[in-house]
């Protein structure tokens, strides 16, 4: 196990370098970052040249990358063009997004798994068909539609929630945005759980559990669910990474100043340092989440052994 973790951590290094290099190059191709600084009008060539020198943009790309990565490892993610440190932006943005992700994951676990179990046990019945249809709708409708619709109905028309989230972004305010963010994954979790439950329900060990005279609830929770959740947990785990970075649309709609919002602003203003910095951290989050999922997999299914 220990050796496996070390090997996985070592494997992360090339992935990390590759991913960051790629994003660094892509941001570089986006265009001249200086151009955006002077607003609508053309920059004065002398100022532009001076700024380029100041930010090290006159050096070749590979050198910029090396300098950048060197700084990253000392905890310096550079400075945004407005003078704010990128780490400062992160320290305000990440807690907000983490809270949003927690809300979303909780929705996936509680609602997704519950619906999956209920439908999996009643396959082909009306409950099953309606939930299945509903998940199909949720999967097909883009997040910005569900998001805007809920904002309009709950926030503007009925006034149940504030249409836009304050800078504090408390858990209470994040319930509806979290649901919107989770919606598509939630539908997938429901379907995944349903399939898994329906499949395992006919398995021999469930029959054994019934033959042992165990109460129905114990058969379902301890024997059926435990086995069925292995694939679902994997999905939810990898989804953590996706939700953290993929909240751009949801954060825009509800005006949440989290990671997605900062990334969006960064791309809009061609703010290289912000974009690269945030993406670098997201790459790390994704890698660590994946490793944790793989380790959790071995805990849930003792037949899997890592060496």
């Amino acid at each position: 196990m220990g050796r496996y973790v070390v090997r996985r951590l070592l494997q992360m290094i090339p992935v990390f370098i590759g991913a960051t290099l790629l994003i660094f190059l892509m941001v570089n191709v986006m265009g001249d970052p200086i151009a955006g600084l002077c607003g609508e009008r053309q920059c004065d060539p002398a100022t532009a040249a001076q700024l380029k020198k100041e930010f090290g943009l006159d050096k070749p790309v590979w050198q910029q990358y090396l300098t950048y990565m060197g700084n990253v490892f000392t905890g310096d993610f550079g400075t945004a063009f407005n003078g704010q440190k990128v780490t400062e932006l992160m320290s305000t943005a990440f807690p907000v997004t983490i809270r949003l992700t927690i809300v979303a994951i909780l929705f996936e676990i509680v609602i997704g798994i519950t619906l999956g179990v209920v439908t999996g046990l009643r396959r082909g019945r009306p409950v099953d068909t309606s939930v299945l249809l509903f998940t199909l709708v949720v999967i097909s409708v883009p997040t910005f539609v569900t998001g805007l619709l809920l904002q309009l109905l709950l926030g503007v028309e009925w006034g149940w929630i504030k249409p836009s989230v304050s800078t504090d972004a408390t858990f209470g305010e994040l319930i509806v945005p979290g649901l919107v963010l989770a919606s598509v994954s939630l539908a997938y979790v429901t379907r995944l759980t349903r399939t898994s439950i329906a499949e395992n329900r006919r398995s021999d060990y469930v029959r054994t559990a019934i033959a042992k005279g165990l109460p129905r609830q114990r058969v379902i929770v301890r024997h059926l669910l435990r086995n069925s959740l292995i694939s679902v947990v994997t999905f939810i785990g990898t989804d953590i990474g996706a939700l953290m970075g993929g909240a751009i649309v949801t954060e825009r709609i509800f005006n949440i100043h989290g990671v997605g919002y900062q990334l969006y602003q960064g791309i809009l203003r061609q703010n290289t340092q912000t974009v690269v910095g945030f993406v670098t951290v997201l790459v790390l989050v994704f890698l660590v989440a994946n490793l944790l999922v793989d380790l959790l997999y071995a805990v849930l299914d003792p037949r899997i052994r890592y060496a």
Binding site: Y205, I210, A211, L214, R226, N227
Partner: protein
Amino acid sequence: MLLEVRDLHVEFRTRDGVAKAVNGVDYGVDAGETLAVLGESGSGKSVTAQAIMGILDIPPGRITGGEVLFQGRDLLKLKEEERRKVRGAEMAMIFQDALSSLNPVLPVGDQLGEMFVVHRGMSRKDARAKAVELMERVRIPAAKERVKDYPHQFSGGMRQRIMIAMALALEPALIIADEPTTALDVTVQAQVMDLLAELQREYNMGLILITHDLGVVADVADRIAVMYAGRIVESAPVHDIYKVPAHPYTKGLLESIPRLDQKGEELYAIKGLPPNLMHIPPGCAFHPRCPMAQDVCRTDEPPLYEVNGEEPARRSACHFWRECMNG
């Protein structure tokens, strides 16, 4: 009688039609007695067992008639909660494939101990001690260390021993073993079968042994019930049946056992296939495959004839049981 099944009928309703899996089965077993239920796949032997245990998949399965009298009460009339308390505690079942029948993600000790936690309200710690005791009882080496192991960490024979231990846990009056040795190596088969027979004697349990292996049956069974297309076609004490079968199907089964003195000769096989349970032939279900079939077999369903008047009772569902026994 410890258990008496009377005129049991079970159907499966599927999209393609109704499959009549069990069509009026009668059999019984006494305490300390071993009844072997013999038959091909699809003869209804496992379905009957599942109906007795109350673990049929309902739907698509449905019990359409009959009684299952266990220690005097009809199990089919019990409420599900009362029925559940009988399962595992008073009658237990051993399944064919222990690897798939044990929960892959729980240590065997937990699965054994669960019986005591649920039925006896024991603490988990006491249940764990009981689990070790049971594992020692079925002679699993180093039980104390192995109680925390998972099913896949055991060999096939050891896993089946764990299944047996689980069935024995609460010392039930009846054990139903559904092909308990089919998935095992031949050498291990004998060990597991001997263990089962020994424990049965010790606890004076009734045992229903479902199998299609005639070799296993001869050694351990007291009585044999042969099933075909969801009915009992012959039922007799084990030695009588091996000596002179009273039904052409039983005869065919016995003749299809490979024998050492027939080396090089082609193996005998009953011609044809078991009937489709959605379209069971009229009359005697076996007539399309029967070498002795006459016109009456195509129209009249044979009752279970008393082959000998005295005890132990012997019955055959063949119009021509006399002719069968004479040649």
